[in-house]
């Protein structure tokens, strides 16, 4: 037996690894091991007031913190019969655009790109690709800034609350966002050009299903009340369990999901496959130019998808700022009941994130959180197994196989806190 071993899957969020077991050239298994310790968050928030839950659950992840908060807000507001005012709704949308730009710029440039260009890190790319690294940092900083303006600080802002915001962003802060988003559009367009120019190896290619929210009003967006599946079906978010069927596996503290016994993918590629026709502006033109059937088979295109999405997010900001600025600050909407249930579904940068709550007499009775990486784990393993099989059949060197396996895992933008560090290839 031989073991090909990537001791630490670096440049991902969280602690995990990959083990590949080989019998001669035959790949026996590929597993993505999640080493993050169990935190039992869903159990800890039981008995809490909804407002206290909102302080705790964003801490599941420091990158998609606002997605967790927004998904929880949607679930809890449904449970408590709260209809947030238009200004609240739009300010939340703006905050999600900020998180999308921050997380997509971090993942595409700083975490994924070094593999394609042959460097160990984005910092090591500074001499040869200084303009690109600086572009990434500009985009990321702006995304963080918008998250701070809307949510209170760059990570774990507490400002978005049930029924409104503690304090709405000032007109001046919003005007600065508008001006800066305009200024950064060429940077995002350049990012699309760069990620469209990369060569995406064919090794991981295989058909799969893609899931994303169906954003309201037939627009592109990052939340929705139903889920679109690339086979043409649509499912109400309240029925999320039919889609996600969580189960426990022995090599991971993250749970797994299958839809009708099949693995599936969530993320920017899934969103663009399901809702890409709804894009507008330059992002729509660039998607049309760069989209191909390979997107339906090759997870590496998620990198390009994230770049296109980042551009779209920036293009939305000026108009959204104008709409928000024209409105007066509404009072906070209070709960109309103390008992009820609700499910929230938002598109975190790395895919659909569900929060379901049952509230009884003002206290949380049950919480169920299903993260995008947990849903993607089976598809990550499927595409990694194919990569290993095909590369070993071509007698590729271990280092090259390892790199390609890591590239596949990273392409999903896995958030291993929400689910890793290790590729191990075992030969029997």
């Amino acid at each position: 037996m031989r073991e090909l071993n990537v001791e630490a899957l670096a440049r991902v969020e969280g602690d995990g690894g990959i083990t590949v077991t080989l019998d001669g050239k035959k790949v026996k298994s590929v597993t993505l091991d999640v080493h993050e310790g169990p935190r039992l968050i869903e159990q800890l928030v039981k008995g809490m007031k909804p407002e206290d839950d909102l302080n705790v659950i964003p801490r599941i992840c420091a990158i998609c913190t606002l997605s967790h908060r927004y998904s929880a807000l949607l679930g809890l507001e449904k449970a408590l019969g709260v209809k947030p005012p238009e200004k609240t709704y739009l300010t939340r949308e703006l905050m999600m655009l900020g998180e999308n730009v921050e997380s997509n710029s971090l993942h595409t440039y700083l975490l994924a790109l070094p593999d394609f260009l042959g460097y160990p890190s984005a910092i090591a790319m500074l001499n040869d690709y200084g303009d690109d690294v600086k572009r990434a940092l500009r985009l990321k900083k702006f995304g963080n800034h918008l998250m701070a303006v809307t949510s209170g600080r760059i990570v774990h802002g507490e400002n978005p609350i049930i029924g409104g915001f503690g304090k709405y962003p000032t007109k001046q802060a919003l005007e600065e966002i508008k001006a800066k988003s305009h200024e950064l559009i060429p940077d995002a367009a350049r990012a699309v050009e760069l990620f469209a120019s990369l060569e995406y190896p064919t090794y991981p290619e295989a058909e799969t299903l893609f899931m994303s929210v169906n954003a309201p009003k037939k627009k592109y967006g990052y939340h929705g009340d139903s889920i679109l599946i690339s086979n043409g079906k649509e499912v109400n978010v309240e029925d999320y369990k039919k889609l996600t069927n969580e189960r426990v596996v022995s090599h991971s503290f993250a749970k797994r999901s299958l839809y009708q016994d099949k693995s599936f993918t969530v993320g920017a590629n899934a969103r663009l496959i399901n809702m890409g026709k709804r894009l507008d502006g330059q992002a729509a033109d660039l998607l049309k130019e760069h989209y191909s059937d390979r997107w339906l088979k090759n997870p590496l295109f998620n990198n390009l998808a994230q770049a296109i999405e980042m551009l779209w997010s920036l293009e939305q900001m000026p108009d959204m700022v104008d709409r928000i600025s024209s409105m007066d600050d509404p009072p906070i909407e209070n709960p109309t009941r103390t008992t009820g249930s609700g499910t929230g579904a938002v598109e975190a940068p790395r895919g659909t994130l569900y929060h379901h709550y049952d509230v009884k007499d003002g206290l949380i009775e049950a919480a169920d959180i299903i993260t995008p990486t947990a849903q993607n784990l089976d598809d990550i393993e499927k595409h990694m197994k194919l990569t290993a099989e095909r590369m070993l059949a071509e007698d590729k060197k271990d280092d090259e196989v390892r790199l390609n396996l890591e590239m596949v895992a990273r392409a999903y933008d896995p958030c291993i806190s929400c689910a890793t560090h290790l590729v191990r290839l075992k030969r029997i």
């Binding site: 670096a10 800890l44 302080n55 801490r59 022995s250 991971s252």
Partner: protein
Amino acid sequence: MILNCEDQLVDLFGATEIRSFLMAKSDNHEGELDVALVEGSIATEEQLKRLKDIRERAKIVIAIGTCACHGGPQAMKLGEGKWDEMYKKVYGNAKITLSKAFESQPIDAFVKVDMYIPGCPIDKTEFLGAVSKLVAGKHPYLYKFPCCTECKWKENKCILYEGRFCAGPLTKAGCGAVCPSHNLPCVGCWGPTDDLNVSSEYELLKEKGYNPDEILRKIRKFGGAGVAKLVKDLESKKEAKA
């Protein structure tokens, strides 16, 4: 949070020799270290092994973030003995072969810690200030006062005067009193402050009419081991009185 120091990231990598930083790079070397920054709480045997290895290799160990300093939200029920039951509810009887897991604890429950930089998230200014001092071979200046001090600097209206419970007086400073500055009560995400007698502050809040159970419930969200100790102190005082 370190990757969020966009303006200083390049300088940070220039001023120091970053031997290992899993999230940022893949050419990591695990050897002798001047300074180790450890984030996260300890919840598995594997993590404990790695922590002990880091302690052996590093001259200075700094706990960064509320999880490493206090245990984080996942340690909010420390001392209540309910962990096994909760674990079973999440994972059922499925066997996870990876590594034995246990209730999360801060890193100083297992190894000596030289400095603490709490926060959820840590504050850029405090972190970069500490690194600059360390690079210059000096001891960092770390905040020792409660969140209220920063809140006063900002001239915010006191939320406690409105009758809303705010964890500010019991919580370490460093965030710039961000929640009260948004008209929201402090949620206590820096963990308990250490420059005052937290238990007498707790008594004072009780006298002012705040529900004692509610106070503990609120500060336990992030207070982990620190609040578990406070609860123990309070109980022993009660017993002493009886």
